[in-house]
Amino acid sequence: MNAIEVRKISKSYGKLKAVNEVSLEVQEGELFGLIGPDGAGKTTLFRLLATLIAPDSGSASLAGYDIVKEYHAIRSCVGYMPGRFSLYPDLTVEENLNFFAALFNVTVEESYDLVAPIYKQIEPFRERRAGKLSGGMKQKLALSCALIHRPKVLFLDEPTTGVDAVSRKEFWDMLQRLKEKGITILVSTPYMDEASRCDRIALCNEGRILGIDTPTGIVNGFRSPLYGIKAKNMFALLEEARKARGVEDCYPFGESHHLVADSEFNLDNFKKDFDGFEGFFIEPVEPTIEDMFIKLMKQ
């Protein structure tokens, strides 16, 4: 049985179609990522699945329960961590945890084995107010609180936004371990580089899903030849490359520009034409999820 099934669900706010006929399935024990920028509809989708709002049309079920008719059943088997850190800044670490345990009618002891690997890292600060924790520690506390009732499904809405790279890596490692304990995880992020940590991902933009696959599957879908180009004057290079023959698209990509070639592209001719650029350099590169995202967005 699928842990999450979403069938053609839609939700609008006025004219804005926040979620537009989205369908997806998440298997039990899967770590599923919703990848997309702000305004892609990730938060609305979470709220729909967490039964906080009702869909305009379509349906969805979680662990077999319908999100509209059986929402009370869903609420005890879902752990939800909204985008903003949903902790009480004026309560201590320990008080926060105890409160969330009480909220779900469990004791901290009952779930300690599940929470411990995460909570242990912040336990030395249990007397500290949550508002005084660093971003990474807040994140760990919020995750502990979301796990306290042993949910079957865990919703994490942009858990890594505003957190530094080290804490982010630790966070994804923690999710990996939770997954191994059989918890289904639906996580969203605007950062394409985090996508590879998921089993499967859905690329979302403006309320729609552009594609669903494994990270490798997504990247393999990028069939055009892709090159990285560099020169001393990057801006002039970008403008010239866009005008060149056989170039489908060219855009900045960190240190180099990525150049998407079409069938008319000829590497030798291109090299010759751009030889005049100081420090010109071209090499084939592997496409990333971000390249695919750009391609899908432009279609």
Binding site: D38, S134, D164, P190, Y251, P252, F253
Partner: protein, 246 residues
């Protein structure tokens, strides 16, 4: 020396017994995109405040756009631009009103403002949105507009605080194109960010850990030096040794 736009020597800032910024020295060249990275609590914000003339160093010296950060902080504020993801524009004012307001803040005259504003809107293809409330623009547009406004007075240096978090990949690239274009005109860009893929766009990157600058080079050299495949790895290698949090 005219090509050094930001120069910092032994910059130190202490809060009581806590040394937020510890003996930091570096130079930023004209037209460079300088990435200023660090974990939460590494001292980035404190250092940047000193560069913008918002706080005084405990010891050490520095100059920005040719002005001394201790004695000429008011001059500095007139010659820099600032944009952050958290605050940039007033949502309840229209595009034009925002431009007009910030042009006024930076001391541009009426005619000058008008001329530059028209140019700015044309460059961004925003002419249609002149009277749109900024709050109703998509996030990516807002950020492009914010950057354009932060550079309306042709500042020598623009400070960007996590400029492109949460923006879609296409708009994000358009944003970086604007930045490249600005550096073409000789503007220097100083970016702080958590996100290492933003770091990859920089000409040079410095990484702060526990108040000190632990690494400073081009992304390519840093990756080589740390035998890493991405800036993310470089950063993690350095920041893992951090002893203090936020």
């Amino acid at each position: 020396m005219k090509d050094i736009v930001i120069s910092v020597r032994n910059l130190t800032k202490k809060f009581g017994s806590f040394t937020a910024v510890d003996n930091v020295s570096f130079d930023v060249r004209r037209g460079e995109i300088f990435g200023f990275l660090g974990a939460n609590g590494a001292g980035k914000t404190t250092a940047m405040r000193m560069l913008c003339g918002l706080s005084y160093p405990t010891s050490g010296s520095g100059s920005v756009a040719g002005y001394d950060i201790i004695s000429q902080s008011e001059e500095i504020k007139r010659h820099i631009g600032y944009m952050s993801q958290k605050f940039s524009l007033y949502n309840d004012l229209t595009v034009w009103e925002n431009i007009d307001l910030f042009a006024g803040i930076y001391g541009l005259g009426r005619a000058d403002t008008k001329e530059r504003a028209v140019k700015l809107l044309r460059r961004l293809n925003f002419e249609q949105e002149r009277d749109t409330l900024v709050g109703s623009l998509p996030l990516g547009w807002k950020q492009k507009l914010a950057f354009a406004i932060a550079t309306i007075h042709n500042p020598e240096v623009v400070f960007l605080d996590e400029p492109t978090g949460g923006v879609d990949p296409i708009t994000r690239r358009q944003f970086w194109e604007l930045i490249y274009e600005a550096t073409e005109r000789g503007t220097t860009i100083f970016v702080t960010t958590h996100y290492m893929d933003e770091a990859e766009y920089c000409s040079r990157v410095s990484i702060m850990v526990d108040g000190e600058v632990r690494a400073l080079d081009t992304p390519a050299h840093l990756k080589q030096q740390f035998a890493a495949s991405s800036m993310d790895e470089v950063f993690r290698t350095l920041a893992r040794g951090a002893t203090r949090g936020e």
